[in-house]
C-alpha cells in the first residue's frame, strides 16, 4: 500500500488546500516553501527544534490514564495526551517553536501572528522573547475584550497586541489583518500562522511541527498498554492539535480518528462553528480551499462557540480531505455538553481542561460508554483551562 504522502508540491490535499492569495504574497510563500523544504529534514535544524521542545517546552508530554473517569463512564479505557502540561499550557507552542526557529534561519527579525483566544499569541510572544525577535500579534477587538488575561500575558512577554476592528472583530479578521501586515513588511517579517490553515506551505508545516504529539503517542501507548489506541479523539477548530496527533496514525488503519467540532447552541440552530459536521459547502478563504461556513453568495458567516479557539468558519484543508476520504470522521459537541465535561474532568481527575479540549472529552465520554473495557480511547488533551475560568464563572453566574 502506498504510504500517505499529501499534500502535493502545490499544497493540494485532493481538491483541498492550495495557494489562493494575491500576487503580492506569492514571492514570500515561495521563499517560505523553499526554506522549509531546505530545513525540514536538516539534522542541525531538527536537533535545535527537539532541544527546545525538550528543555524549553518540557516534552515529551506524558500520556495519563484517566482511571476515575473511565470507571465513572464504565466502558473503554480513557487515556489523555497531556499537551496541557507544555510550557504556555497548550500544544500551540510546538508549532511556534518550529516556525520561530525557521524565522531565525531565514534572517527575519520580526514575527507576526493572529490569535483568537490568545493561546497562539502567547505561544508566539513567548518564543519571540526567547529568541529576541520583535513580535506583533493581531487580535480581534471582540476577543481582546473576552480574553484580557492573555492580552496582558503577551504584553508582559514584550509583544505588541494590535486590536482588529474590521469585520466580525474575531479570529478570521485577525488572520486577514496579519496577512495584510505580511504583504506590507514581507522583507523583514515572518508570519507564524497558528493552525493548519492558510496558504501552502502552512497547513503542511504546522502539521509537521505539531506531529511530535502523535509520534510520542505511538511510542508511549504500547509502553502502557502493549498496543495502539482503538480511537483517537481531538477537538477541531482550524485543526492543529488534531492534525498533530492524527498525522502519524494516518497509515494505521486500525486506529479510528475522530475530530470534534463545536456545535455551539446546536447545528440545527445555525449558531455553531462546525463546517464539516454541518455539511457546509466548499469555498476559498485565507489562502486555501476547504469546507467553509458561508451564505449562498459566498460571504463568510458568523460562527458561535463557547470556546474562542474553535470559533472559526473554516477548517484546515487536510481535515476536509480526511473527511471526504473517510479516513477520519467528524462530529460536533454543543457548548453545554463541553461545559459538563469541563467540570467533570476538574472534579474527577484534578485537571482543568481548556474549553476547546472539553469538546473532545465530551465525545470520548459518549463513545466510551458503548465500548468494551479492553478498548482504548486516546484523547488529545490539547490545552489547560486556566484561560477559561472567567468564561466558565460567567456562565455559572459567578463573578470573580
Amino acid at each position: 500500500m502506498q504510504p500517505y504522502d499529501l499534500p502535493d508540491d502545490f499544497g493540494h490535499f485532493g481538491q483541498f488546500g492550495g495557494t489562493f492569495v494575491a500576487e503580492t504574497l506569492i514571492e514570500a510563500l515561495d521563499e517560505l516553501r523553499d526554506m522549509y523544504a531546505k530545513y525540514k529534514d536538516d539534522p542541525e535544524f531538527l536537533a535545535e527544534f527537539h532541544h527546545d521542545l525538550k528543555h524549553f517546552v518540557g516534552r515529551p508530554s506524558p500520556i495519563y490514564f484517566a482511571e476515575r473517569l473511565t470507571k465513572k463512564i464504565g466502558g473503554a479505557k480513557i487515556y489523555l495526551k497531556r499537551e496541557d502540561l507544555n510550557h504556555t499550557g497548550a500544544h500551540k507552542v510546538n508549532n511556534t517553536v518550529g516556525q520561530a526557529l525557521l524565522a531565525k534561519r531565514m534572517g527575519k527579525p520580526r514575527v507576526i501572528a493572529e490569535t483568537g483566544a490568545g493561546q497562539h499569541g502567547v505561544a508566539t510572544a513567548t518564543i519571540a522573547a526567547r529568541l529576541g525577535l520583535e513580535c506583533v500579534v493581531y487580535m480581534g477587538a471582540e476577543d481582546i475584550k473576552r480574553q484580557s488575561p492573555n492580552v496582558y500575558r503577551m504584553k508582559l512577554l514584550g509583544a505588541k497586541v494590535v486590536p482588529v476592528e474590521s469585520g466580525s472583530k474575531t479570529l478570521k479578521d485577525a488572520l486577514n489583518e496579519a496577512l495584510r501586515d505580511w504583504v506590507t513588511n514581507v522583507s523583514n517579517t515572518f508570519y507564524i500562522i497558528g493552525t493548519v490553515a492558510g496558504p501552502h506551505p502552512y497547513p503542511m508545516m504546522v502539521r509537521d511541527f505539531n506531529s511530535v504529539v502523535g509520534k510520542e503517542c505511538k511510542i508511549q501507548m504500547p509502553e502502557l498498554e502493549n498496543k495502539q489506541p482503538d480511537v483517537i479523539v481531538a477537538c477541531v477548530g482550524g485543526g492543529s492539535n488534531a492534525m498533530g496527533i492524527f498525522y502519524p496514525y494516518i497509515d494505521d488503519k486500525n486506529v479510528q480518528l475522530v475530530g470534534v467540532e463545536a456545535a455551539g447552541d446546536g447545528i440545527e440552530t445555525g449558531k455553531h462553528a462546525a463546517p464539516l459536521t454541518s455539511n457546509s459547502p466548499i469555498g476559498v478563504l485565507h489562502g486555501n480551499r476547504t469546507y467553509l461556513m458561508q451564505n449562498d453568495e459566498g460571504q463568510i458567516i458568523d460562527t458561535h462557540s463557547v470556546s474562542a479557539g474553535l470559533d472559526y468558519p473554516g477548517v484546515g484543508p487536510e481535515h476536509s480531505w480526511l473527511k471526504d476520504s473517510g479516513r477520519a470522521s467528524y462530529v460536533a459537541i454543543k457548548d453545554k455538553e463541553a461545559l459538563e465535561s469541563f467540570h467533570n474532568l476538574c472534579l474527577i481527575e484534578g485537571i482543568i481542561p481548556a474549553l476547546e479540549t472539553s469538546h473532545a472529552l465530551a465525545y470520548a465520554e459518549k463513545i466510551a460508554a458503548k465500548m468494551s473495557p479492553d478498548e482504548i480511547i486516546l484523547v488529545n488533551l490539547s490545552g489547560r483551562g486556566d484561560k477559561d475560568i472567567n468564561t466558565v464563572a460567567n456562565i455559572s453566574g459567578i463573578s470573580l
Binding site: T19, T24, L179, V183, T184, G283, V284, G287, E297
Partner: protein, 270 residues
C-alpha cells in the same frame, strides 16, 4: 478585439493614457452605484473597475474594506453587483467594465453560472485577486472561451519567471501593483515603479495599468508618463465615504476631472 483592447488602441492613437476608477458595487448603497458609474464616465473614466463586495477582503486596506462592509450591510453581494452592471449597460454599451473580487463569491454561485451571467451583462474583464495563475487555469480558459479578459496582478516582488507565467494567461491588460502592501496603503516610489514597468514590458506587449498607491493628481501624472493606464481606487472610495448624499456625485466628478487633467498633461509632456 475586446472592448478593453479597442479602448487601449484608440487611446494610444490619440497619445492618451487610460484612467480607470475603482468603486465597490453597492457602496454607499446599491441605489447609488449606477449613478456613480455614469458620473465616472462623464468625468473621464475610460473603463470602470467594479468591486464585488466580500466579507474578508484580505488584499484591501481599511478604506475598501469599509466600502465592502457598507455594501454588504445594504444587501450588496455578487448577484447584486451583476444586476447593477446590467442596469449600467442599459444606457452605456461602450465603456469597458471590469469586475474585481475574490474567489469565494464566484465559486459560491458557480464558475459557469458566474461566467454566463456576466457574459449576458457584457462584462469585459475579470480580476480575481486570490486566483494566482497556478490555481485559475480552468477559470481563465472558460473566460477566454467567452471572450472575457482575464486581468492578472503583478507585484513588486514578482520575479521574471513568474511574469512569464502570468503573461501566458493574461489578456486585456496587466495590472501592476505599485507597492508592497494593501490597496491605498502608502505613497508609491515612482522610480521603482518605472523600473518594474520597463521590466514587464520586456516580456509583454499588453498594456500595463498601475494601481494600489495612486492617491493624488501628481502621482497620477507621474504614473501616466510611464504606463498605459492609471487605476485609482481607495482615493475615490474615500471621497464616496466622506461625502454626504447631496454632494456625492459632484465630489466624485471633481476628483475625477482633476485626475483626468493630470493624466492628459502627462501624455502631452511625453
Amino acid at each position: 478585439m475586446s472592448k478593453i483592447q479597442a479602448t487601449f488602441k484608440a487611446l494610444k492613437n490619440n497619445k492618451e493614457k487610460a484612467l480607470i476608477p475603482f468603486i465597490t458595487a453597492g457602496d454607499p448603497h446599491p441605489d447609488k452605484t449606477v449613478e456613480i458609474m455614469h458620473a465616472l464616465v462623464e468625468s473621464g473614466a475610460d473603463m470602470i473597475e467594479l468591486g464585488i463586495p466580500f466579507s474578508d477582503p484580505m488584499a484591501d486596506g481599511p478604506v475598501i474594506q469599509r466600502a465592502s462592509e457598507r455594501a454588504l450591510k445594504n444587501n450588496g453581494g455578487i448577484s447584486k453587483t451583476i444586476k447593477l452592471a446590467a442596469e449600467f449597460r442599459v444606457t452605456n454599451k461602450t465603456t469597458p467594465l471590469i469586475l474585481m473580487g475574490y474567489a469565494n463569491p464566484i465559486e459560491a454561485i458557480g464558475i459557469d453560472n458566474f461566467i454566463s451571467l456576466i457574459k449576458e451583462v457584457d462584462i469585459d474583464g475579470v480580476i480575481t485577486v486570490d486566483y494566482p495563475p497556478e490555481e485559475s487555469e480552468l477559470f481563465v480558459n472558460k473566460l477566454k472561451e467567452n471572450n472575457i479578459d482575464s486581468i492578472f496582478l503583478i507585484s513588486p516582488t514578482t520575479e521574471d519567471k513568474r511574469i512569464e507565467l502570468i503573461i501566458n494567461q493574461a489578456t486585456g491588460f496587466l495590472y501592476y501593483v505599485s507597492l508592497k502592501g494593501v490597496t491605498g496603503s502608502a505613497n508609491i516610489d515612482i522610480n521603482q515603479v518605472t523600473k518594474k514597468v520597463l521590466n514587464i514590458k520586456e516580456f509583454s506587449d499588453l498594456p500595463i495599468a498601475v494601481g494600489f498607491g495612486v492617491r493624488d493628481a501628481k502621482t497620477a501624472n507621474e504614473v501616466a508618463l510611464i504606463s498605459d493606464a492609471v487605476v485609482v481606487g481607495s482615493k475615490i472610495v474615500q471621497e464616496i465615504e466622506n461625502s454626504n448624499e447631496d454632494d456625492l456625485i459632484d465630489n466624485v466628478k471633481n476628483l475625477m476631472l482633476e485626475l483626468k487633467n493630470s493624466i492628459n498633461d502627462g501624455a502631452i509632456i511625453k
